[in-house]
């Protein structure tokens, strides 16, 4: 009986499965193929003829010694390590705040989730303007210090990275807030009240009742943001273009640059595939760990 229905569901979903296979597996295979060659669109040959430029694993051994790649990777990891925890803490704080009723809650709510809806390109331009040396950020700082401030945010290698991270936090805290709010709403109110009546203080309630119930959703929120942050590109690219120099060049920016400027697609494919493999391994490991913690 059970096998029969499993068989039926397999047959019914077969067309969809084939389509998914085609959409996701085919480009992957194509990429794997190109990554083993020196092929470039400038070579004048179609990608199907890329075998003419076969170089086996040369691209892969190259990327191991590519200093610019490794520093881009390190920079991306740094942005991730700073932004995701800050977004998480801010999101959780705001979500906790929104569990209580207060005046103007709806208005604040709309304002809070607005950044998420701003087109990244627009957000990029917005922050580009904000962080100009004659821009509002410096104006505000001037008001506090009393003397004119003219920090060149986006042309200072260290400050440019700070500006980029501020933009990322501004844009993605709302998503964290929304996911965590959904999680908090799912915590049974009576259990929290019961803990209160038993004398637990807010921190104890949070760690002993709320947190255990939020484990899964926190895991999901962090996973989404880590993956997204790894791919950080659009806002950043408009603000700094990865500069000054390579000061804000993340992995995506680097790939974009070598793909569009240097046009060495075989190498690009190799980098992309290597990152995909590493990310997948990390994700699977994290998910397995989460499942174990839950069990």
């Amino acid at each position: 009986m059970k096998d029969e229905s499993a068989n039926l569901s397999f047959r019914l979903t077969l067309p969809a499965q084939v389509l998914v296979l085609f959409i996701s597996v085919f480009p992957l295979l194509m990429q794997a193929y190109i990554s083993l060659t020196d092929w470039s669109p400038l070579s004048g040959q179609s990608w199907t003829q890329a075998w003419a430029f076969w170089n086996t694993f040369a691209n892969y051994s190259d990327l191991l010694s590519d200093g610019r790649l490794w520093s881009a990777l390190g920079r991306t990891a740094f942005v991730m390590a700073v932004c995701v925890p800050i977004e998480f803490m801010l999101g959780l704080g705001l979500a906790t705040l929104f569990m209580d009723d207060f005046r103007g809650k709806r208005v604040f709510y709309s304002i809070l989730i607005m950044p998420m809806m701003v087109v990244p390109a627009v957000a990029g331009y917005m922050f580009f303007m904000l962080f100009q040396s004659g821009g509002p950020v410096n104006d505000i700082l001037s008001m506090f210090t009393g003397s004119p401030v003219t920090i060149a945010w986006l042309s200072n290698p260290k400050l440019a990275l700070v500006a980029v991270m501020v933009a990322d936090i501004w844009q993605w805290t709302p998503l964290m807030f929304l996911i965590l709010l959904a999680g908090l709403v799912g915590v049974p109110e009576d259990q929290v009240r019961a803990a209160t009546l038993l004398g637990a203080n807010p921190l104890q309630r949070f760690t002993s009742i709320v947190l255990p119930r939020m484990k899964t959703i926190i895991g999901i929120a962090l996973a989404i943001r880590v993956i997204e942050c790894f791919k950080i590109f659009d806002t950043l690219f408009i603000m700094t273009g990865g500069g000054p120099g390579v000061a804000t060049e993340t992995i995506s920016v680097y790939i974009y640059k070598i793909a569009t400027q240097d046009l060495i697609w075989g190498y690009v494919a190799a980098i992309a595939l290597a990152i995909l493999i590493v990310l997948s391994v990390v994700c699977v490991w994290a998910l397995k760990r989460m499942a174990r913690v839950r069990a």
Partner: protein
């Protein structure tokens, strides 16, 4: 300390008044049931005592201490939720010991008291089982134990038996009552089931539409309901209520029940009440307090339905305004469609003012 006083308590939610001027004093160690249909304000009252809701007006005092502004964690009340609110990600032991751990009692005390509570509630064999997936009667004991371990002076229970199977309910009623005896706390129990209130409570506070209708011992409320609502709500089935007019029949007073004829002459106390009545009255008697009489002596109503429930036979009589129910202990060949001749015992008759619904008393 553990006496509870509610003074002029009012609760409004926006334009809706959930509770209208409630005054009630619950003595130390007393078991009081707040009884009423859904939406009568009983849970709102309970939540205000616990501190989960803030009164719109009036005061709540524990002993002489005004509870206004005291947060729920500081009131020292135990609360058993309708759904038990068990911490399902913990074991039974962790649930029981939660309060002690939260208030940072020494580890050896936590172990000792948790074991003692588990022993008392017969939970020892499942102490280290995860709370998720335990049966409902065990969950109830965990919920009670988890609150009782903090030794609160006041215990509040919000319909703890409403999720329980009918078959288990009787067992758990007995269990709950036994627990209250061993803990000796002041208990406030919210329920919509009059049988639960009757069997367990020292006193019952009957509520309807946010208004306290009557407070008294179960038998006071059963025998002398203050108004028509209480008369109908208490008892299973509720009191029979027939509209009528007092008539003087040469020194004695009876009630003219229209098409049903006259009632038997009233007992002296009821007669005095009837004499004072201004206008129409409602003639009430309990279904258990009617006896069969010979033809032409009491009331006659056709039997419209016979329910035999175990040893009891409930007869549904008449229809519309002229309907009543009687309960007999034996199934003495009652036939649907046949007329039943019956009369309530005169001492069991209660009269109510037809206009206000309030009970008419002889003194």
């Amino acid at each position: 300390m553990s006496m509870i006083r509610l003074e002029n308590l009012v609760k409004r939610f926006g334009a809706f008044t959930a509770l209208k001027t409630m005054d009630l004093t619950i003595a130390d160690g007393e078991f009081v049931a707040l009884l009423g249909p859904s939406g009568c304000g009983k849970s709102t009252t309970m939540n205000m005592i616990a501190g989960m809701e803030t009164p719109s007006e009036g005061r709540i005092l524990f002993g002489d201490r005004d509870m206004a502004g005291v947060p729920m964690g500081r009131r020292g009340v135990g609360f058993v939720f309708q759904n038990y609110a068990i911490f399902t990600h913990m074991t039974v032991r962790q649930n029981l010991s939660y309060g002690l751990r939260a208030t940072r009692r020494p580890a050896d005390e936590v172990v000792r008291r948790t074991n003692a509570m588990a022993e008392l509630l017969q939970l020892t064999p499942m102490l280290d089982r995860p709370a998720a997936g335990l049966s409902v009667n065990i969950l109830q004991r965990v919920a009670i134990g988890r609150s009782a371990i903090m030794e609160p002076a006041i215990f509040l229970l919000d319909e703890p038996l409403s999720n329980v199977d009918a078959a288990f309910r009787a067992v758990m009623r007995t269990e709950l009552k036994g627990l209250q005896r061993s803990f000796k706390q002041t208990m406030v129990y919210v329920t919509h089931d009059q049988l639960e209130a009757m069997t367990m409570a020292d006193r019952i506070a009957v509520m309807d539409h946010g208004v306290l209708q009557q407070v008294g011992t179960p038998l006071q409320i059963y025998n002398d309901p203050a108004n028509l609502f209480v008369a109908k709500f208490i008892g299973s089935p509720g009191m029979n209520l027939l509209h009528g007019r007092p008539v003087d029949t040469g020194g004695e007073v009876a009630i003219d029940l229209g098409a049903l004829g006259h009632s038997l002459p009233l007992a002296p106390e009821q007669a005095a009440a009837a004499r004072r009545a201004k206008g129409d009255v409602v003639f009430g008697f309990r279904p258990e307090q009617a006896a069969r009489v010979g033809e032409g002596q009491g009331m006659a109503m056709p039997i419209s339905f016979v329910e035999r429930i175990g040893a009891r036979t409930i007869l549904h009589l008449g229809e519309g305004a002229a309907s009543a129910k009687t309960v007999f202990e034996n199934d003495a060949g009652f036939e649907m469609g046949r007329a039943l001749h019956f009369a309530p015992h005169p001492s069991a008759v209660r009269l109510f003012d037809a206009a206000s619904g309030a009970a008419l008393r002889g003194h």
